[in-house]
């Protein structure tokens, strides 16, 4: 086996780090979206779900997932910085006349869409998870308790989401970041398979269509909750 340092520094390994951590983050988003869609089933299901997340494996599961997510985020961003820097350095002199055939707005702006989403994720956590921003809508405050069917008193997550998305600023920021997410994933998901070398004549044509569809589908799924709240479908 080659010295780990040599492998770690290589562009291909850095791309593997980006692809595998990206894949983990996409899997997390699938789980996140399934939870969000419980908003359509009403406060009981949503709040029960929120409670179960915090109680799973005596409260340890949520920290294991959070640790994994944090590590994935750090490695994903690290590899993005390393590769973006190298890619820019590889072409010091630009063309006067440029033309593109196959690259897309999404593929060319991965670093930008990723950076803007990072800013959004930090804001999103400060809003819904830690409660520093928009404290008036935070479910952890007194008076926002919800009593489950078995009598357990839990924070009213349903109410937090509902009232938050009735604020135009919160909703607009959310929808913009979901457009960025859809863009980012429309290029990212199919790229993961190419980078990891999971390709062949049968699956690659399917992945080239299914990858962007999954990315855009996830973004649309996330958008469905605030849009339904605004138009009054969820109340």
């Amino acid at each position: 086996m080659r010295a780990f340092g040599d492998v770690w520094r290589s562009n291909i390994f850095q791309k593997w780090v980006m692809a595998t951590t990206g894949l983990l983050l996409v899997l997390f988003l699938v789980g996140h979206l399934s939870g969000n869609l419980l908003m359509f089933l009403g406060p009981m299901h949503m709040n029960e779900y929120g409670h179960s997340l915090r109680e799973m494996l005596h409260g340890s599961a949520i920290w294991v997932v959070r640790g994994g997510l944090l590590l994935s985020f750090i490695l994903h961003i690290w590899s993005a910085i390393v590769l973006t820097r190298r890619n820019r350095m590889a072409r010091p002199d630009k063309y006067v006349k440029t033309s593109t055939l196959t690259s897309t707005l999404a593929s060319r702006s991965m670093a930008l869409s990723g950076l803007l989403m990072l800013v959004y994720v930090l804001y999103h956590l400060a809003h819904f998870t830690f409660g520093g921003v928009h404290a008036q809508f935070y479910a952890g405050q007194t008076g926002w308790e919800y009593v489950l069917a078995d009598g357990t008193v839990v924070p009213d997550v349903y109410k937090m989401v509902l009232l938050s998305f009735r604020e135009p600023l919160i909703t607009v920021l959310y929808l913009i970041s979901m457009v960025l997410l859809g863009m980012h994933l429309s290029h990212a998901v199919a790229s993961v398979f190419q980078t990891l070398g999971v390709t062949n004549k049968r699956i690659t044509p399917v992945i080239k269509i299914a990858g962007p569809l999954l990315g855009i589908g996830l973004a649309l799924g996330f958008c469905s909750v605030p849009i339904s709240i605004i138009v009054g479908l969820v109340h």
């Binding site: 590889a90 980078t195 070398g197």
Partner: protein, 249 residues
């Protein structure tokens, strides 16, 4: 037809370059793009000006020597065509054409449209070979190779090393070139002995030369005059990781 050309002129590797405008009259549609530049150069020489330097050799589209970026597209607008096989019938009277050299840190401009592509040679030197026994040549039919594998190897071996993939890639990545060489030799039984070290060494050299990484834009595949598939990049990624995890070095 009459054309207006904006051509990158640079006296030497360290000189500052700039686009210079030339008007070329009475261009025949039957000329190749390089013949059109030959006519312009004859004209420049007759006026005691320095002709435009560009690389060319076979002019049959098979040697990989020629190459320039025409209106932002390596080898010009026609797919799977080298610039020597690009004909002026592609253009119409009054067209403005921007002609620039390949742009990459690993391909420094030597003069005008000529770039130094010896970085490709150094990548080949680290692993683009197979070991053969000395003595008499082996019988050609001694090693059975299925048509499927021979065709697959040939798809990669079609690479002429022109560098259009690097020129087209927004990251100036040489992954399609390197992957074609690794894929070509890796598809054949003769190439198995060095398969693991080949992927490792060629990728390390590619990185050391200062080429960028792949962002899956697929511009390289679209620009390749031989239509090499990015499938070979996926295969290189597999070979590289297999080598990194367990290969001998």
């Amino acid at each position: 037809m009459n054309l207006r050309l904006h051509i990158w002129r640079q006296a030497g590797p360290d000189a500052a370059g700039m686009l210079k405008t030339y008007d070329v009259a009475n261009v025949s549609e039957h000329m190749s793009f390089l013949e059109m530049l030959d006519v312009l150069n004859e004209d420049l020489i007759s006026k005691n000006e320095i002709p435009i330097a560009f690389d060319h050799d076979c002019r049959e589209g098979i040697c990989g020597t020629c190459g320039m970026v025409i209106n932002g597209r390596p080898h010009g607008p026609v797919a799977k065509t080298t610039v020597c096989q690009l004909h002026m019938r592609t253009y119409k009277d009054g067209d403005e054409i921007y002609i620039e050299p390949w742009r990459a840190r690993a391909f420094p401009v030597m003069r005008d449209l000529i770039v130094d592509r010896s970085s490709f040679d150094r990548i080949i030197q680290t692993g683009g070979f197979v070991s053969v026994n000395t003595g008499n040549a082996q019988d050609g039919n001694a090693i059975p190779i299925s048509k499927k594998h021979a065709d697959h190897a040939m798809d990669a071996a079609a690479c002429i090393g022109c560098g259009a993939c690097v020129a087209a890639c927004p990251n100036s990545s040489a992954m399609l070139f390197t992957a074609a060489k690794i894929g070509h030799l890796g598809a054949l039984p003769q190439g198995q002995a060095e398969r693991s070290t080949r992927a490792m060494h060629m990728v390390m050299q590619m990185d050391a030369e200062g080429f960028g990484a792949c962002s899956n834009h697929l511009e390289c595949e679209a620009a390749c005059p031989k239509g090499i598939s990015v499938e070979f990049i996926a295969q290189m990624n597999r070979d590289y990781i297999a080598s990194a995890l367990g290969g001998k070095d």
